[in-house]
């Protein structure tokens, strides 16, 4: 199978996945008992309630709603949020960008910490690698909920960094960016630390496996310094299985960012979905689901294609 065919296949199945998940979210949102018109029900006349339901399109049968929503999806029009009184598309776009900032920063930090440490820990079994492994296991035991609480606690106690939010508001340009950078470390680290530990363990295992293989022994037999043999010959090969796991990590990143957004009041997609669910804001829930599904599918698909591009054995199906 060629890389192009593999990529097309993955993109198609990713798109189907996104569509199915988005549709299920809408179904779920409609199954939720209650809808936005229940709010202020005591002060509204039945006519006003009916008008509101009609305005939100909630008086239609489900299939009509679904059809309208799908055709809207094609035009990037996901309806209006009853809670924010704004188009859903604008809202989820803004919030998804915030989540993307957080998730990308965390992914970069986690990769930057995890891979080099894993390479080190996997190459020579000595005191340093045992220490890295021990720290890694401890950090792995602090999932995002606890790491977020811990970091917020430290930030609150020391006053070094803001404990929540994304910006202080009312700033523009360079001052806004500087402010964002001050708000970024707490949520980013909360999300990145468990991920870094996961990557470190994966990389260390992959590295240890690769170093034991004949081609590394051969390079050493030719007189290459063992450290150099590990770095130049073994490491690139050991990277392939690690990259193969990035697709799964995207899901973990999403889950983690949900908790971190709630704890540190980061205005991202997870928080928006949570608020929308609490407010029974049907179209907003569906919009969050749709965008979340698309980003998730895009992330896993990109990771799979990158994996295949680096490791051609994936194309032959030998990895599956």
């Amino acid at each position: 199978m060629s890389l192009a065919r593999f990529a097309v296949g993955r993109v198609v199945s990713g798109a189907i996945f996104a569509l199915v998940v988005a549709s299920l979210t809408l179904l779920l949102a409609r199954m939720v008992p209650g809808d936005p018109s229940l709010e202020d029900r005591l002060t509204r006349t039945p006519e006003e309630v009916a008008a509101l339901r009609a305005e939100l399109g909630l008086d239609q049968p489900f299939l009509t709603q679904y059809g309208r929503w799908l055709s809207g999806l094609a035009r990037l029009d996901l309806g209006r949020s009853s809670m924010y009184r704004r188009p859903v598309t604008d809202l989820v776009g803004e919030r998804a960008a915030n989540t993307a900032i957080l998730a990308l920063a965390a992914l970069l930090v986690a990769t930057g910490i995890g891979l080099p440490l894993g390479r080190r820990a996997g190459s020579t079994p000595d005191g340093v690698s045992r220490l890295v492994r021990a720290v890694s296991l401890a950090v792995l035991s602090v999932p995002p909920l606890l790491s977020a609480l811990l970091l917020v606690f430290i930030a609150a106690r020391t006053g070094w960094l803001p404990v929540g939010g994304m910006t202080s508001g009312g700033l523009t340009g360079a001052a806004w960016l500087a402010d964002l950078l001050r708000h970024l470390p707490v949520p980013t680290l909360a999300l990145a630390l468990p991920l870094a530990a996961t990557l470190e363990r994966l990389q260390a295992r992959a590295m240890a496996d690769t170093i034991g293989r004949p081609f590394v022994a051969a390079s050493r037999a030719r007189g290459l310094d063992p450290a150099r043999a590990a770095r130049v010959h073994a490491w690139p090969v050991s990277l392939a299985p690690v990259l193969g796991n990035y697709g799964v990590l995207v899901g973990a990143l999403f889950s983690g960012s949900f908790v971190v957004e709630i704890v540190t009041a980061w205005p991202g997609l997870g928080r928006l979905l949570f608020d929308a669910l609490s407010a029974r804001d049907v179209w907003l829930v569906a919009g969050c689901g749709a965008l979340g599904a698309v980003s998730l599918a895009a992330g896993t698909t990109a990771a799979d294609i990158a994996h295949a591009a680096i490791d051609p054995r994936v194309l032959e199906g030998r990895h599956e």
Binding site: V21, L137, R157, R205
Partner: protein, 314 residues
Amino acid sequence: MRRALILVGVLVALAVAGPLLAPYGPVTRFENHLHAPPMPLHVDGGGFYTVPLRIVDRLEQTFAEDPAQRAGLPWTTPAATPVLLLGADGLGRDVLSRTLHGARASLGLALVATAGTLLVGALLGSWAGMTGGLVERLVLKAGDVLMVLPVLYVVVALRAALPLVLPLPWVVGVLATIFVLLGWPRIARGVWAIVRAEARQEHVLAATALGATRWRVMTRHLLPACHGYLAVQTALLVPMFVLAEATLSYVGLGFPDGVPSWGTALSEAATISAMTRAPWTLAPALAMFLVVLVTNVLLEPARERHTPDAARSG
């Protein structure tokens, strides 16, 4: 595998015995000890003792030790002079007692969900492995899709879609069902791989040739091959579900406020003001950390052996 079983045994024991070990009730309030700090344990010739705290300023919630007095351990001291080894929360409830009482809800739910996950995962996995064909493809594909989904989003969305206020047994049932729904694919995939390999063995062919039913082949000849894998997975699932409960309760979708669990305790403790004033109320977070840490440390070697992840086939 033995480590995994012992670990699960200890967690079960903790869920059962936790509340019995607690010195005070989960809602026993000590009006004069709101946000009282932990009382350190001293030791001398007569054994362990603590120095009771006296409130100095009710508004500032400051306390002073009363050196004239001595109290024993909380289990032996009359409740009139509370001995708060881990301090008290904002309502004057003993944090140690609440953490021990919370173990039952948190670990209990996690254990119920784990049992369900193992059952569903093992059945579907072995069914797929034995039958092959369409069933196999459907089970594995469904599992793959579920495994990619971000667990927390799905849990929160599903839980939010159901009525918020439910009787307690229903809450446990609903949460456990959601956890099972998301947890089974991991188990099913592992069991499927083992069963598929095992089904080609001669003892299985012999049993089939002797006329054993499919159910008998599955339960007597195939599933026993999985028990090492299942033991390790059991020990890994429990902490995962403990954390899931904590997260759900933290956002208000788990146990209701009145039920002492690690998650509800955490949601009360995790406000900035409570946290900075009384960090000891975060004790349930420490309990969770310990459960996960012990699991990770004990099972790291087993996990490396049993996880058929891509990192090992490279």
